[in-house]
Amino acid sequence: MYILDVRDLTKHFEGIRAVEEVSFRLREGSIVSIIGPNGAGKTTLFNCLTGLTRPTKGTVYLSGRDVTGLPPHTIAGLGIARTFQNIRLFKEMTVLENVMVAQHLKTRSGIIDAIVRDSDFLAEERDVREKAVEYLELVGLEGLSDMPSFNLPYGDQRRLEIARALATEPTILLLDEPTAGMNPQETSNVMEIIKRLQRLGKTIVLIEHDMRVVMGISEAIIVLDHGVKIAEGPPDAIRNDPLVIEAYLGREAFA
């Protein structure tokens, strides 16, 4: 049984073939990287998986259930969380609040509870707060709870986005360039976090340009070029695949 099963996923934007019949399957608890040159359709693929764009064709099965074309908040509720390439934090909220709001689906208080502030409501709020701190600890941001998130350095913002995605308690975590713009120290820190998440049982898909990260932690790599999947396999096989070298690695990483 695969946790995510993508079949013939296709997305056209008025004649531009962003994603063309891409199929792949993920095993629970694996780390998979999606690589490819800029404009290869990686982020569009993520958008299709999370419901931000509706695929032109194809189906996405999450634990055997067809989730194609469901709205983003429903998909989030079914267990797919993501981060964004161009960070989408709630800038004016504090670091803690960013993670608190992400527990939206796990909480139930209604407007009456909020107004009356009965003991159940207060207990839930306390719980949300404590859990938020835990998620922040997991990504190493525990000391910065009360800082407005726009004040965070770039690398910390990316880690906060991971914490926020985690707070939705996903089974699958899609990370869109989690180490972009980071120095080597921060990058290895994020790799550490990703491995830690795997130990927690999360399935992780990342879009990544840093070959050290890709080769270092992925169990499988999917290569996209012009929206088409041109290769899939373990890092060693991908490294030596002539098609991949031609399309991507040959020009950029090993040039």
């Binding site: 908040h73 989030a76 800038k91 909220m93 609040e97 909020a114 107004i115 409501f121």
Partner: protein, 381 residues
Amino acid sequence: MKIPSPVIRSSFLKGILIAMWFSMLFLPFKGPEAAAILFLMISASHALLNYLRDLARPLRDKGLELIGKIRKIKMPDYSTAICRYTLLLILIAFPFFVKDYFVDVAILTGIYIILALGLNVVVGFTGLLHLGFAAFYAIGAYTYALLNVRLGFGFWQALPFCLGLTTISGFILAVPALRLRGDYLAIVTLGFGEIVHLILNNWDSLTGGPNGIAGISPPYIFGLSLGSLNRYYYITLAAVIITYTIVNRVRSSRIGRAWIAIREDEIGASSIGINTMRYKLYAFAFGSFWAGLGGALFSAKMQFVSPESFTFIESVLILCMVILGGLGSIPGVIIGALILVVLPEVLRGVQSYRLLALGAGLIIMMIFRPQGLFGRMRGEG
């Protein structure tokens, strides 16, 4: 203190340029002499203002430093409670120490605070530009007026209908409007405001048209009329406190957090499982609810309603209160409402210039403190 010369030169040149531009504008109307005088006056006052600003800068820095220090002082926990109760006492004692006129203004302020807090839910928390809020205010006011005058409902009997009807109208507007974003949403809300205004103005048989509805009775408690200014003040005060408390509590619950998240980044919000459409709908309905309360209070106070009170300008005024105080900040919105109700009253002495002064004030505000009085500028910390 010696100021580096390029700075002097550039600001001096700027003054000359501004002065020239204005005198050129006036040249065709008033002749060269007036233009020359205007030129001299503007350049002189520009230079003077620059000089004054340099003088004031160290003073301002010291002030900011002081504010920073005050903020850092750790207040004991009970101090906020003490502040709160003192404020409450002052507010309760207020009508005993001032003339009726001030009580009247205070009641009006209270009604606007309720309205502004309601609009703040839509504009400030959720980030949806709403230009037709007066429509909901009107629906609340007319619901009480009609139920009272036509069907003989008392204030307390009619109130649930006022609140319910405005909330439902909030829903009705929101369902089609929320398919749109940004500017388009603003235009639809504006249209809704105009439609309601036109209906009130033209449906003579129901609303009395431009003549409005007179003879609305004030609220009663145990047969005691609350129509006198002082008694009505306390009703309004209670309503403001209830509004403040409820809005504040909802703001700091998961619902309020979801609203803010939508304002900050809608795609981000949907990615963590917030049904953005539904929460925008809630914001509209919850915001409109308070317009219903404000409207009912307004018509019971005035004992008269007419479409004139609910024009587009009214929507803009309430929006200004929200923006002036700082979008999303609850104390800011209260201060904003206070300023925009009290200031025109203070400026009554200079009658015909008061709107001009108010407008100029708002423009200056937007230039120098666009985040509002209590708003926080990004990056300011």
